[in-house]
């Protein structure tokens, strides 16, 4: 890394932490196949502590790419990206990730799946078990602590994955269309529970989706992204107070915001 870049990152880390910025990107870009495919270009953003931010856009807008870069799973090819003021170099224990698929281990019970993140650091204690059961309780799986994934429905499997994510103790949660594979009723119910839980654990959350209504309903800010090449088109503030009832989605104000986001996606 050259001197200037290091200096910029140092400044940003100081400024970032001071202003309560948890995730910060400056000109973040990603190209694949030696630059032949541009997945994301020039994304700059600041995400304050405790914010729920949705990333919305059509396929190919680079939203999952951006999320995976924040997670440290893929390397950026341009720009600076910091988490808690430190440049992202790889997966971090204070950043937790949840996928569209529950990705549970079939041979483990719900409890054992939730304890997996802990096992990476230490042998789980009774207190860890206690906490895991409490988390399963929180996601509504009190009676399925000793069930195996194949005995659970898709929605229940995602609940286990959510409990596992929370057991990492990460204060930054990255969710990549976490309920995208579920039916609409289940998804809506889980979204509302997710809002409640995230508020309870006071986590900073990045939520990837291609559903505009869902993006707005859940978030404090919506990062609207456009494809070819993937770009961050606009950061839209969501003004609605919390807690938000499901009926909010029927109000004219809500739909006006949906129309605004749709406009941004359409005109770019």
């Amino acid at each position: 890394m050259n001197m200037i870049a290091r200096e910029v990152e140092t400044q940003m880390s100081k400024g970032g932490e001071g202003a309560g910025i948890v995730i910060s990107g400056r000109g973040v870009g990603k190209t694949f196949a030696n630059g032949a495919v541009v997945a994301l270009e020039g994304a700059s953003f600041d995400i304050p502590k405790g914010d729920f931010v949705s990333l919305v856009g059509p396929s190919g807008c680079g939203k999952s790419t951006l999320l995976r870069m924040v997670a440290g799973l893929i390397e950026r090819t341009a720009g600076t990206l910091t988490v808690h003021g430190e440049p992202v170099k790889g997966p971090r224990r204070d950043v937790g990730l949840m996928f569209q698929k529950a990705t549970l281990l079939d041979w483990r019970t719900s409890l054992e799946n939730v304890l997996l993140p802990t096992e990476m650091v230490r042998k789980p204690t009774k207190a860890d078990e206690e906490e895991a059961i409490e988390l399963l309780n929180m996601v509504g799986l009190k009676d399925f602590v000793f069930s195996f994934p194949s005995q659970l429905s898709g929605g229940m499997q995602q609940r286990v994955a959510l409990a596992r994510l929370l057991k990492t103790g990460a204060d930054i949660l990255l969710l990549d269309e976490p309920f995208g594979a579920l039916d609409e009723f289940t998804r809506e119910r889980l979204n509302i529970e997710l809002m409640r839980i995230v508020a309870e654990v006071k986590a900073t959350t990045l939520f990837v989706t291609h559903n505009i209504g869902e993006a707005i309903f859940l978030a404090d800010k919506v990062m609207v992204m456009t494809p070819r090449p993937g770009r961050l088109a606009k950061m839209v503030e969501v003004p609605f107070a919390r807690p938000r009832p499901a009926e909010l989605q029927l109000t004219p104000e809500f739909n006006a915001l949906v129309a605004e986001v749709r406009d941004i996606l359409g005109t770019h």
Binding site: L97, F99, D106, Q151
Partner: protein
């Protein structure tokens, strides 16, 4: 079961028994009338008498069974442990895999039995070369299956482990190996069947002792009824091995069958309760 169902079950069993006895009677009659050559089709009653002789009055088969099954156990254990171990190492290491692959393909295309005489030449007559032959026929199925099990780990799960900051060892122990267990077990089942054939080949070549040598001796003496009794013994052993491996499979790959899942759910709940001093249901 309802009395109706029980009656049906016994009637079916009765039918099977009747058909079997009918066939045996036909066979027996064929031998008596000279229609069937007793050299190729020894009469059922003669086979029965042979069973009685080799197991009870003469009792000579026990020793040979003991020798053969001991060799099977030794060869199978060593061959399959070697297969699983090497499969895991080769699967986890791309460099080793690249250099080993051509040899594996060449060896896999070679009929293993063809190497048996070479093994005897190298190791000499005796149990060591027999065990080596069994190891050789037992090695490949577990090796190939472990290798493919390790290589075909679900990408999402791999990414999950990475995002959790897992070390290479943790990935192997907590994801790759447990994930590969069902396919490894399929390899072990194949290996066990091969082991039984392997010991027979080894004993056909070195016909000093063992069930293979016994079959060879009986056929050379044209004592076909006793040879048949030995073969039927092997049928029974093969069946028991198959059932036994199935049981082991259901046990270690418990998440692949309903009964296993149910059993483990209860077991985990009980273990948890025991850790809490019996307060789980509170």
């Amino acid at each position: 079961m309802t009395p109706e169902g029980a009656r049906l079950k016994w009637r079916r069993r009765g039918n099977h028994a009747a058909i079997f006895l009918g066939l045996m009677a036909l066979w027996q009659t064929g031998s008596w009338t000279g229609f069937l050559d007793p050299l190729f089709f020894p009469a059922p009653l003669d086979i029965l008498a042979s069973f009685w002789r080799i197991y009870v009055t003469q009792g000579n088969i026990w020793y040979h069974l003991y020798v053969s099954l001991g060799l099977v156990l030794a060869g199978f254990t060593m061959g399959s442990i070697l297969g699983v171990g090497l499969g895991a190492v080769v699967g986890m290491n791309a460099t080793v895999r690249r250099f080993l692959q051509p040899y594996v393909i060449v060896l896999e295309a070679t009929p293993r039995i063809a190497v048996a005489p070479l093994l005897i030449a190298a190791l000499g007559f005796g149990p060591q070369s027999k065990i080596a032959i069994i190891m050789l026929v037992c090695f490949f199925a577990p090796f190939i299956n472990t290798l493919s099990g390790v290589l075909n780990v679900n990408r999402d799960r791999m990414e999950l482990m990475r995002s959790l900051g897992a070390s290479k060892m943790q990935v192997l122990r907590k994801l790759v190996l447990p994930d590969a267990i069902p396919v490894i077990m399929a390899g072990e089942r194949l290996a066990m069947t091969s082991a039984l054939s392997g010991v027979l080949v080894a004993e056909f070549i070195q016909r000093d002792q063992g069930i293979g040598a016994l079959i060879l001796t009986y056929t050379r003496n044209l004592n076909m009824a006793s040879a048949f009794a030995c073969i039927l013994t092997l049928t029974a052993i093969g069946f028991l091995i198959f059932k036994g491996m199935e049981m082991v499979d259901h046990h270690v790959a418990y998440w692949k069958n309903e009964a296993g899942l149910k059993r483990m759910t209860e077991k985990r709940a009980r273990a948890f309760a025991a850790r809490r001093g019996g307060l789980a249901h509170a």
